[in-house]
Each structure stands twice: as structure tokens, then as C-alpha cells.
Amino acid sequence: MSAPTPATQPRMQAVRDFGRALLFLGKVISRMRFTRLQVAETLRQIYFAGVRSLVIIVTCGFFVGLVLTLQSYDALARFGAADATSTLLALSLFRELGPVLTAILFAGRAGTSITAEIGLMRATEQLDALDLMAIDPLERIIQPRLIAGMITVPALVLIFNATALLGGVVYAVFLMGTDSIVFWGNIQNTVELGRDFGHGMLKAVGFGIVASWLAVYYGWTAKPTGEGVALATTQTVIATAIVVLFLDFVLSALML
């Protein structure tokens, strides 16, 4: 890609990696083109990243909702406040658990496969072949995956939240006999559309950008060996988890 760079000191390595990732993102954005072909390819990537993640998102969401309701119902019942269970469930889902868990699950399920796919294309010189045919791989390969990831994560967060609430309904209403009017009424009286739900979705959009950006970046910069692709895949999961948790703290502090 570029002329061999002088060896940097190891302690500057992280800063340099960050700069490279930023330049990479800028380059992809500056070369974006939206033809009919690109839109079709983006839809295909939404299928691979989104539809194929549905099973794990729905299962996870349902059981998170179930167990969160179970634990908070038990704890709140000791204070005679069992009716507040649904409020606690909705607030913690919308503001924290939904976006964070979905982003980490997305990194594990879809991010890794994006990294591995691009890394393998690099290792088998498919990216160079595209370049030789005067097809820009940034535009044809990276852009659809990046945009698909940005769209998919908020969509998955919405589905995660809805199924988790469903899990809460199953435990609180069907098993513990809370009246469903009380369950939904408490949520509607407390949860604000803009401040709670809206801020959670803003986080989801931010996490979507980070998760798909890191996935394509580690794939693009993977060393063209089997070992390099394996390392890049691992790095995607670790980096996404750390950055998402850090960003979650920053965004929460900014928005509260």
C-alpha cells in the first residue's frame, strides 16, 4: 500500500494503529459511491450480518429479559416494590443492556466473519486481483460491509429489546401473576421516549459504527497468512468489546 515505514517504538504502536484506522475510515468514506449494484450488495451483507445473527440475538434477548425480571422481582419483592420490576427491566434494557450486549454479540457473530472473509481475500490475493481489474476493493468489498453493519446493529438492538421485554412479560405476567396493565402502565409512566429510549438508540448507532469499522479494519490489515487471519479475528472481538464498553461509559456520562 505505502512505502515501508520506519520501525516505530512499541509504545507508539497503539497510537499509530489508531491513526491508521482513522485514515482507513476516511478513505472508505471519501470513495463511497451509491450505485444500484452497491445497494444490492449492501442488502446482501445485511442478510449475512443481520438475518444470520437473529437466532442468537433473539435467544439471548429472551433469556436476559427472563433472568433480569426473575432477579429484580425477587429483590424488589423484599421491599414490597415488586410492581417496579417492569420499570427496572425497561430502563436497564433501553439504556444499557440492549445496545451493549447486542454490540458484543454482533462482534462475536458477524464481526468475526467479516474480518475473516476480508482477511482471507487479502491472503488469497483476491483484493489485489480486484485492484488489477480497476475495481476499487474499498468501494466494492469494504463499503457494503461497513454500511450493512451500521444499519444492522441498531436493527438488532430493537429486536433484542423487544424480545427481552417479552421475556419479562413471560416471567412477571404469566408466571408471577403481575397484572399486564400494571406491567405496561408502570413502563409507560416512567420510561421517556427521548431521554431513555432515544439515548439508548443513539448509543446503538454509535456502537454499530464502531463494531463494523473495527471488523473491516482488522480484516483489511490482516497479515496474509492463516495465522494473521486468526489473529485479526481475535483482535476484532477483543477490540470491539473494549471500545464498546469504554464508549458506553463516555456516552452515558455525556447524555445523562
Binding site: 444490492a40 442488502l43 446482501r44 445485511i46 442478510y47 443481520g50 438475518v51 437473529l54 414490597g80 410492581d83 425497561a90 433501553f94 444499519i151 441498531p154 436493527a155 438488532l156 430493537l158 429486536i159 429489546n161 423487544a162 421485554l165 397484572d179 399486564s180 396493565i181 400494571v182 405496561w184 402502565g185 408502570n186 413502563i187 409507560q188 409512566n189 416512567t190 420510561v191 421517556e192 421516549l193 431513555d196 429510549f197
Partner: protein, 154 residues
């Protein structure tokens, strides 16, 4: 491997599913929500509601059957009008049901307690409960006991 046509279709369905989840969450689980069917509203007028708050419980026989929707002041009579939303499962409350505002324990939250009457007629959406007992205000009770200011009949 599915055909690309099918893949695009499935992706479209996935996005529609997400939009459906968005609409469901926004309308059912936030303050902009419209409470779905399965409930009806009745009102009751009290001279004093004490510290009753919106979304306080409405109980009958100790079981929560609904919640206080809103509390407003009647501009003509200066009574507090409490609107309660009660679950459809309990749609056979007699017309002469009485409502009182009571406190859970000595420091607990105040809630509305309903006492069923014996009328064959039932309360329907928009009805008013005629028999009400206002909240007991602890300070007034103590003051009456200490200074016997209630009136001269004892």
C-alpha cells in the same frame, strides 16, 4: 446457497421486522405510548387526596387491579378528581363500589382501595364512583386528638 433475489427479500423482511420492533417499543413501552385495550377508566372525587400520586396502585381486597391515571382539581367544587385505569379482567365491579385512599403501613405509599358494593349494575368505562373516603392526614388526626379541636360535642 440461496439465490440473490431471495437473500435481498429476506434482508428486506429483516429491516421491516426491526421497524415493527421500533414501533412496538415506542408505542407500548415509553411515555408516548397508548395504553392498549384491556382496561377501562373510572373516576372518583375526593375532598382530599393526601399524597396520592399518579401511577399509585388501585387495590381491591389487597390485589392490585389497576393504577391511578391522573389527578386533577375540579374547578367548580374544588374536589380532587382521581381517574383510575382498571384491568378488563375485573369488569364486573358493582356500581355502588366505594373508594378510599389508604396508606400502606405508617410511612408507606398511599393507594386507592376499592370496596365492592351489592348493586347488580356494574361500573363501565367513564363512570364515576360516588362513595369515597378521603385520605387521612396524620397531622390533622394528631392535632384533633391533642387539642380536641373537632367541635364541641364531647
Amino acid at each position: 446457497m440461496k439465490s440473490s433475489h431471495q437473500i435481498e427479500l429476506t434482508a428486506g423482511i429483516f429491516l421491516l421486522l426491526a421497524i415493527a420492533a421500533l414501533i412496538f417499543l415506542a408505542l407500548q413501552a415509553t411515555d408516548r405510548g397508548v395504553v392498549s385495550g384491556g382496561s377501562y377508566e373510572v373516576t372518583a372525587e375526593f375532598t382530599n387526596v393526601g399524597s396520592l400520586r399518579p401511577r399509585a396502585q388501585v387495590n381491591l381486597g389487597g390485589v392490585t387491579i389497576g393504577m391511578v391515571e391522573r389527578i386533577e382539581l375540579d374547578p367548580a367544587t374544588f374536589d380532587a378528581r382521581v381517574t383510575m385505569r382498571i384491568s378488563d379482567r375485573y369488569d364486573e365491579l358493582p356500581e355502588d363500589t366505594s373508594a378510599s385512599i389508604v396508606t400502606a403501613g405508617i410511612l408507606g405509599d398511599q393507594y386507592v382501595s376499592l370496596e365492592p358494593g351489592g348493586s347488580p349494575e356494574v361500573l363501565v368505562d367513564g363512570d364515576r364512583i360516588l362513595f369515597t373516603n378521603s385520605a387521612l392526614v396524620l397531622e390533622q388526626l394528631i392535632s384533633r386528638y391533642l387539642f380536641n379541636t373537632e367541635g364541641g360535642d364531647n
